[in-house]
Amino acid sequence: MTLSDFEGLSDELLMKRYGEGNTAAFDLLYQRHKAPLFRFTLRQVPNQSIAEELYQDIWSKVIANRQDYHVSAKFTTWLYTIARNRVIDYFRVIGKVPEATIIEDDVAVGDGEVQHLVCEHRPELIVESEQAAAQLKKLVKDLPHQQREAFLLKYESGFNHRDIAEITGQKEETIKSQVRYALNKLKLGLFGGQHE
């Protein structure tokens, strides 16, 4: 069977096929998830080489556990759980265990206060600015681990709050707050906190 034969199959069926020995199913699965997963890893570690190493380890675990995968579990949830654990392991190895985010210590930016954010340039020009992109990446990396993780899972990988809660093993409300705090920090970093 070729890749086109598997186009309509879900991630779960592809993984099942791969577990049964069909390598074409893995190829398609890899193509679907390689970029978001790579960036998810890349945004959390200091450099690309480490990201690539962890990225390869993540897929190695997928390959090694292909026959233990059950269709009842969502493939992406399973994949990003593996990825998250690998990143945490990395931080543990280097002695920088991600600390739990203390919401109260975060930037106290309320929903209403965002309306007072101002930009020195017109917002549409910010998007076209490479400098702004680099600044955003830096801001994301500087986020607290759990906020960064929640932000990436939501905006990079497209998970909803419930899936992120499942992947991270936290409550859905906690995930919502972490995502909110992460966004506020990014807004502050990009647009400043100056009021009009």
């Binding site: 390689k34 960036r39 390959i63 954010l117 910010i126 966004l183």
Partner: protein, 309 residues
């Protein structure tokens, strides 16, 4: 008036999302992609090989078991065959040797010598008679269990020479019979008849001589009797005894005569005729005719004894 542009929270969130999508374009390198996919394929291939190896091992094990089974059957067959062969070998040792060999070895030296000197035909007949008993014995050996000890024994038996026709054999093969000419046949016949006549004459002469000796001894006894009794008168011969005496004298003359050839007989007859001894001539003529019935005498003698002819 400043250049500051106020941004709402929703607008800022949308801007961040858009900016992030545009800024976040990193992907793993192609080498890393290939490496991971090769790893994934290799894992499946190894798994297949492993399972194939397991399957192969299972198949090999089955084959080994199968061959072991076959091997045990073959070994059993070979063992039984070997035992049978040894048994038959021992039996052949216990079995009396070939009758021919026994006869050859058990006979005394004289007999063997006589056998060797005997005409080939006799020996051949004996060999042939023995050979008629051989087939069963040989067939038993030829059936695959012939032993090495049995084979040389058979070598001792000389190969039967070409059969020699016996002298007394009356029947001849057609070609050979046709090859004998009529002249040869008649010559053989005459020879056979002569031999038979000679045999009969010899036998008759022997019998007659025996009778004459007995009669002479009887006469001597009778002649001695009157002397012993004092009877001086000569004994007169009875008339009935005359023919016997005459015949006796002829036979006596004939038996005592040394005439071995017809010419001698004829010469003696002519002498007797010259002396007018017709009686002696007559006796000699009878003896001559008996001795040489086929001899042709002279015309003169034939006329003298024409009455006898």
């Amino acid at each position: 008036m400043s250049n500051k542009h106020p941004v709402s929270s929703e607008q800022a969130e949308t801007l961040i999302e858009t900016l992030y999508d545009q800024a976040s374009q990193e992907e793993p390198g192609d080498d890393l992609d290939k490496l991971i996919m090769q790893q994934a394929h290799a894992a499946v291939s190894d798994n297949s090989k492993s399972s194939a190896a397991n399957t192969s091992a299972t198949t090999t094990t089955k084959r080994i078991l199968k061959w072991q089974r076959f091997g045990s059957i073959a070994a059993t067959f070979v063992m039984v065959f070997t035992i049978g062969l040894l048994y038959q070998h021992n039996q052949s040792k216990l079995r009396p040797e070939s009758p021919m060999v026994i006869q050859e070895s058990s006979q005394p030296a004289e007999l063997q010598k006589t056998r060797s000197e005997a005409p080939a035909g006799d020996l051949i007949l004996e060999v042939q008679e023995l050979s008629e008993e051989e087939p069963a014995f040989y067939a038993d050996e030829v059936s695959g269990v012939a032993t090495e000890s049995a084979l040389p024994m058979r070598k001792e038996v000389a190969p039967a020479p070409a059969p020699v026709k016996r002298k007394a054999k009356p029947a001849m093969n057609g070609a050979a019979a046709q090859a004998v000419s009529p002249a040869e046949e008649s010559a053989v016949k005459q020879t056979t008849e002569l031999e038979a006549a000679e045999t009969s004459i010899t036998q008759d002469s022997f019998a007659e001589e025996k009778v004459l000796i007995e009669r002479k001894s009887a006469r001597k006894k009778e002649a001695a009797k009157p002397a012993q009794l004092g009877n001086t008168q000569p004994r007169s011969l009875a008339p009935a005894a005359a023919p016997m005496l005459m015949q006796e004298s002829i036979s006596d003359f004939s038996a005592d005569s040394d005439y071995s050839t017809p010419e001698e007989w004829i010469s003696a007859i002519e002498d007797a005729l010259a002396n007018n001894d017709k009686e002696k001539a007559q006796q000699l003529w009878s003896g001559y005719r008996e001795s040489f019935p086929d001899h042709q005498p002279s015309e003169a003698l034939l006329r003298v004894f024409a009455d006898d002819l």
